[in-house]
């Protein structure tokens, strides 16, 4: 134990952890039958104490006062006290009266025994009423000392009967009425007759009665008290040795054998208690008690895993604190701060070894046992030592609130809950209740925030969670690939990842990966430094550029060094940029944490199946850490890695999108299952895409799905989770907003070159009718957009996309046919030719009139453009 760093205030008690002596004194008198208390002093003492006790017990608490006035302080309070006694007797007819002094009476030096003597002399008719004086100045100690002072007063002033009897005196530290009832039953089980002093079981926890008893009718009778001198033994249930011990007094004056044991709280002390009862009664411990013991023990074992995390602050009266510490220790709860407001020099010695032992096991090198302490000090220590639990009276509620740790309410007072008088801690059953209250307090706190805590601890160590979440949400809002509405935000895909580690059956590696990027034009591969230069240059031109993505042309993670370097360089240049990345997911578990660290907030994984047999049909092979796998094993490895990678990302708050390519007859029926799976993992959105036929691929002859079919699948899956409807299947080097790809403007730019204007002149511009952007595959009258391509010196360049009519996506939605053709022709504008799959006669005539040549073909776009340009050059036309 080290010395506390906190300097306790020595002169200012801030938020006291104690009450005054008279409160303890009147509490003890409440355990005597037909007894009334009168406080000799100002009437406020009675009023305040009654108020305080009534709030705890929810019972009437009647305490009279001698109502001393200023005059009384000058001439002494005798007149008032004698009058008070008389009035009290006349109205209430008590058998016993406890007269306790207060600050005022003790300060003016009132001699109670003399005054009581005078009262008897003046009122001989009341000589049978036992009037017991108790010295209890508010400055003389706390309620704890006041309580024992009253018991000592009772035993030392009542005239005793010394004939031997077969009773056992039981004197206890302050207990709840419920615990008092337990004690009486426990002794009864051993056939032991006891005189319990005090016995508050009925008087401070009475039932409903239509006629209210003005006098407390329960409790220890005066008749029994007189027999205490002739009892077989006295048991003091009190962990602390009291200065004026009532038990010792009985031993010294009347030779009654004296035992002092701890209150039966916790397994060890309850064992000792029953063992003593068994010895005294010469009766074996009843089976029922052994069963109770077993039940408590079982509960201790059941709850150990929660209790073991308890780091407790325990405060209150010395006895209560000592017993609670022992119960905590035997349940693995570490007492960090043990505090009593009383002066109790023995407390440290009693508890030190016990706490040292558990502290050693837990490698805890600091705890505190404090006496004469206020809540200000306790709270500061609780904070400093990182306590997670408070155990004590409801006066700890302010700490509970300010520290945000739970308070297990026991002791006196309980003002902010009902039932304080019925809380138990004695015996195996009371201990069980108490222990489980402690465990449940820990558990309820744990249950409320353990997910959050683990999450913080293991996944989000470096992120400030709330800030990050907000940031990511904000970024998602402005991310064109995740939120179609963010169409004003520009994104830039950087082609730094040429290699791929899987072979999809719909893909030919000579083009960009169709997972995320539109094939057709192979983009130029950039080095990380070139990528940075390109970013800088584009950013200068496009102020709305806020997203950088790594999307191939291979797999971003199959080229991790390049990807990582690129992201690091750009982040350094622009700390606010949003990073996204798309991958097939094979290497995701390996790099996920690295991606999080790099600040990638959005990840797209292409997952075409969650069934390995379907997967085996889609993937030709995978190349995993240098080993080639095929068929089902390839699909299995890929799937496992995709799922576990996504889980890591989702847990870290990364927004995940899953791309699914619709392959007719292979996975089209399986897609909802894929969507359900990734939804469960916590992905944000799925992007179900049409399959694009690629010549030379395994699936080159697979029937493509129509947009309508894709939309049907999307609508179906939309019931499960958010769907992306706005995908444009961008290129790996796409730049700009979704509706305006400006990548070609920057396509020649490597490093620090400026943007190069495309020269006009001996070149041709074609408007291409295409659905997919890859093939010339659409009827002229059905196009929603035209792809504008430029042919120059044998090179085919994509220039832009022109929308015909924003909301016209197919014949079923389109209005007037004639209007539409006019719109298309308008969109063609200055183009030299139109390349289409089919075209009606009327539009053809119109185009010819405008000197626009029409080429009808079904081919890859670049092949078709080349062929058309050659025909133009040769003067041929269709």
């Amino acid at each position: 134990m080290s010395k506390t760093k906190i300097e306790p205030m020595v002169n200012l008690n801030t938020n006291p952890c104690k009450m005054c002596m008279p409160l303890g004194s009147v509490t003890a008198f409440y355990g005597i039958k037909n007894c009334m208390s009168i406080l000799h002093g100002s009437q406020g003492c009675s009023t305040y104490i009654r108020r305080h006790m009534a709030t705890h017990y929810n019972e009437p608490v009647d305490i009279a006062s001698s109502s001393l006035t200023e005059q009384g302080t000058v001439f002494g309070g005798e007149t008032n006290l004698l009058k008070g006694l008389k009035n009290l007797i006349e109205i209430y007819h008590p058998e016993v009266i406890g007269v306790s002094t207060t600050c005022l009476a003790e300060t003016i030096g009132e001699d109670l025994p003399r005054m009581i003597g005078k009262f008897y002399a003046e009122n001989p008719e009341y000589k049978n009423i036992e009037i017991i004086p108790v010295k209890s100045p508010g400055y003389g100690g706390t309620q704890y000392e006041g309580y024992f002072s009253a018991i000592f007063g009772v035993i030392s002033s009542v005239s005793m009967q010394t004939e031997a009897n077969d009773c056992i005196n039981v004197i206890t530290a302050p207990l709840t009425p419920a615990d008092t009832r337990f004690l009486k039953e426990a002794f009864e089980m051993f056939g032991l007759k006891i005189i319990l002093l005090p016995d508050v079981s009925d008087n401070l926890d009475g039932g409903y009665k239509e006629e209210y008893d003005k006098l407390p009718s329960g409790g220890t009778s005066l008749k029994d008290i007189k027999k205490m001198a002739g009892a077989k033994a006295t048991i003091e249930l009190c962990g602390i040795e009291i200065k004026d011990s009532p038990g010792k007094y009985l031993e010294n004056h009347y030779g009654v054998p004296y035992y002092r044991i701890n209150m039966p709280v916790g397994l060890r002390d309850t064992d000792i208690f029953y063992d003593l009862l068994s010895k005294l009664s010469e009766i074996d411990v009843p089976e029922e008690i052994t069963i109770q013991r077993g039940r408590y023990l079982d509960a201790m074992i059941d709850a150990h895993k929660y209790n073991g995390e308890g780091r407790a602050v325990i405060f209150g009266e010395p006895d209560y604190v000592a017993s609670t510490v022992r119960l905590c220790v035997e349940n693995g709860v570490m007492p960090l701060v043990v505090a009593t407001g009383s002066v109790c020099n023995d407390l440290k010695g009693l508890l030190k070894d016990e706490i040292d032992e558990i502290a050693k096991k837990y490698f805890i090198d600091r705890y505190e046992i404090l006496q004469d302490v206020d809540f200000k000090t306790i709270e500061a220590l609780a904070k400093e030592l990182h306590a997670n639990l408070l155990i004590g009276s409801s006066d700890g509620r302010r700490m509970e609130e300010s520290l945000g740790i739970p308070l297990v309410r026991r002791g006196f007072p309980i003002h902010d809950r009902v039932g304080g008088q019925r809380l138990r801690m004695l015996g195996y059953e009371g201990s069980l209740d108490y222990m489980e209250d402690i465990a449940n307090a820990l558990l309820s706190k744990k249950e409320a925030d353990f997910r959050e805590n683990i999450h913080q601890q293991y996944y989000k160590k470096e992120l400030q969670e709330d800030k990050m979440k907000e940031l990511i949400e904000d970024k998602t809002k402005n991310h064109p690939c995740f939120n179609g509405c963010a169409s004003n935000t520009a994104r830039m895909h950087l082609a730094v990842a040429p290699r791929c580690n899987i072979q999809c059956n719909y893909c030919v590696r000579k083009f960009d990966c169709p997972n995320e990027s539109r094939p057709g034009v192979t983009s130029k591969i950039l080095t990380p430094i070139e990528a940075l230069e390109k970013y800088k240059m584009v950013k200068k031109e496009m102020s709305n550029l806020s997203v950088v993505g790594i999307a191939g042309p291979g797999d971003a993670l199959a080229n991790f060094e390049e990807t990582k370097k690129t992201l690091e360089l750009i982040r350094e240049f622009d700390p606010d940029v949003t990073f996204c990345l798309s991958t097939n997911g094979l290497m995701l578990p390996q790099y996920a944490n690295e991606l999080i660290r790099l600040g990638v907030s959005h990840v797209t994984v292409t997952m075409n199946a969650v069934d390995i047999n379907i997967g085996a049909k889609i993937y030709k092979y995978i190349d995993y850490n240098g080993v080639k796998f095929e068929g089902v094993s390839a699909a299995a490895i890929l799937l496992a890695n995709q799922l576990s990678g996504l889980r890591i990302l989702v847990a870290a708050g990364i927004i995940c999108k899953v791309n699914i390519v619709t392959l007719k007859g292979i996975n089209d029926k399986h897609i909802p299952k894929v969507v359900e799976t990734v939804k469960e993992i916590g992905c944000y959105i799925t992007n179900i895409m049409p399959f694009i036929q690629v010549k030379g691929s395994v699936f080159e002859n697979l029937e493509p799905v129509s947009n309508k079919e894709v939309n049907e699948i999307r609508n179906l899956c939309g019931e499960t989770m958010k769907q992306m409807y706005h995908c444009r299947q961008c290129r790996a080097d796409a730049i700009g907003t979704l509706d305006n790809d400006r990548s070609l403007e920057f396509s020649e730019c490597k490093g620090n070159c400026g943007s190069k204007k495309i020269e006009e002149g001996n070149s041709y511009t074609f408007a291409v009718a295409s659905k997919s952007g890859m093939l010339v595959d659409t009827h002229f009258g059905h196009v929603a957009e035209l792809y504008i391509y430029e042919y120059k010196d044998g090179d085919v360049c994509y220039k832009e996309k022109r929308e015909i009519q924003k909301y016209c996506t197919g014949e079923e939605n389109c209005g007037d046919e004639a209007d539409k053709i006019d719109n298309i022709i308008k969109a063609i504008g200055e183009c030299d030719g139109v390349i289409t799959m089919r075209i009606g006669e009327a539009p053809k005539q119109k185009l010819n009139k405008k000197n626009v040549k029409v080429f009808v073909t079904y081919d890859r776009i670049d092949t078709a453009v080349k062929a058309a340009a050659e025909q133009m050059g040769n003067g041929q036309e269709d």
């Binding site: 009450m19 002093g41 108020r51 009437p60 005022l104 508010g138």
Partner: protein, 535 residues
Amino acid sequence: MSSARDHLLEQYSARVYKNRKDHVVTKGEKDPDVVTANTRTIPGIITQRGCCFAGCKGVVLGPIKDAAIIVHGPIGCAYYSWGTRRHKAVADERDGEQADSYLEYCFSTDMQEPDIVFGGEKKLKQAITEAMSIFNPTAIFICSTCPVGLIGDDIHAVARWAEEEYSIKCIGFSCEGYKGVSQSAGHHIANNQIIKYIIGTGDRAPKKKFSVNILGEYNIGGDGWEVEKLLKRCGIEVVSVFTGGGSYRDMKNSHLADLNLVQCHRSINYVADMMYTKYGMDWLKVNFIGIESSVEALRNIAKYFNDAELTARIEDVISDEIANVFDEVQYLKSKLKGKTAALYVGGSRSHHYQTLLKDFGISTVLAGYEFAHRDDYEGREVIPDIKMDADSKNIESITVEKDPKYYKVLLSDEQKEALKEKGVNLNYYEGMFKEMDEGSIICDDLNHFETEEFLHILKPDIFFSGIKDKFVAQKGGFLSRQLHSYDYSGPYSTFSGAVRFGQDILMGLSTPAWGLIRAPWKQIPNLEGSLGGEE
């Protein structure tokens, strides 16, 4: 009903009878009704009264949020007055001036035996030093408990020392518990020091055309906040509240307001009276408990200021507030009408709540005050006739004079006379008697014994009291609600508070437990056949 009084009194011994008979009055039996009040408590009878310390520290000073109150004495009194009253407050800022809240704290010098023997001034000084070093409050109040006055600690000298040493406001309150006969002495002592050392020391003038202070509103359960809100809606600036939710920061400017509104007459009338003499400020007795009485209070304010625009605004607010609660009040009234109540609270609530009960058709059969004076029962006109006993004479009575700088008169005597004719009686309180029904019982300093007896004789449906007598009533099968702390409920003031009050009463009366009292085996058996002479 007179038999109820006789039935009670005849149980007393001749000596107690002689004392108590003048404290218990049946309305209408004598003309005029006279009650004995504010006299010494009979020793040994279980009184519900508190002490001087409770009235000073607990009631008047306790709610002042930005003053750190150090209780000089042994621990008990500080502990028992820690957060026990539900006066609410929050720290706030006003015109750039911060008012912290120390309401959650309890400060005590925790005197021990050696301090009693050798004196505690040194400890008190050190405690102030410690409080300054941790909390650095703008004001510190020192409140004495019983032993302090006896051992001769000079807390006022310590307060002067602290003011010099730390340039703060520090005031001593010699409110030892034995002074006077009840809390009332403590109110007086607190009021005296507030007038001497706080009011008039600030210079923040009100910004609005009409401004008031609310006196004797302790913001129990948020009552004061409701009243403030209502006045603000009417366009009236509340300069300060004495003292619920109030602050030293605002109280020091209170002399610059136009009018004092007095809610609790008993605890604060000294301040209202002295401000009238010193600053010329009129005071108006108001009661924001109850719908009718809130309307009356607002209209009286309107009449006082006599401004067409303000009057119109106040009428708008009244009709709006009434419209909001009308249906609910009608419903509650239909359920509560005809019930009877007994009230035994402090020094004004027993009167205030009768008007609220009347709003719901509940009549009051018994009312009493713990610590009132005769004027609280009979009206201020009896003040000249009140005989001061020795205990009251010991409480310092200060006299104030016109303040040359701030004295102002808003209304001429003629205008006041005209107002009186309109029913607005300034600087006056009519007391509780006048509004009570003939035959109802008034009992001053109702003790524990009398409570039980009267409950059995009068059998009210509800007994309104405090926590100390609450359980006596409930054990006897009487619904009891606390009017000191509202049993965790409230606010009960103004219009919406009235509805909340009505709901609480209805909820209490319809608690299922009341219908389950008798066990089946204790039911009176149905006798078969009939007895002779009966049908």
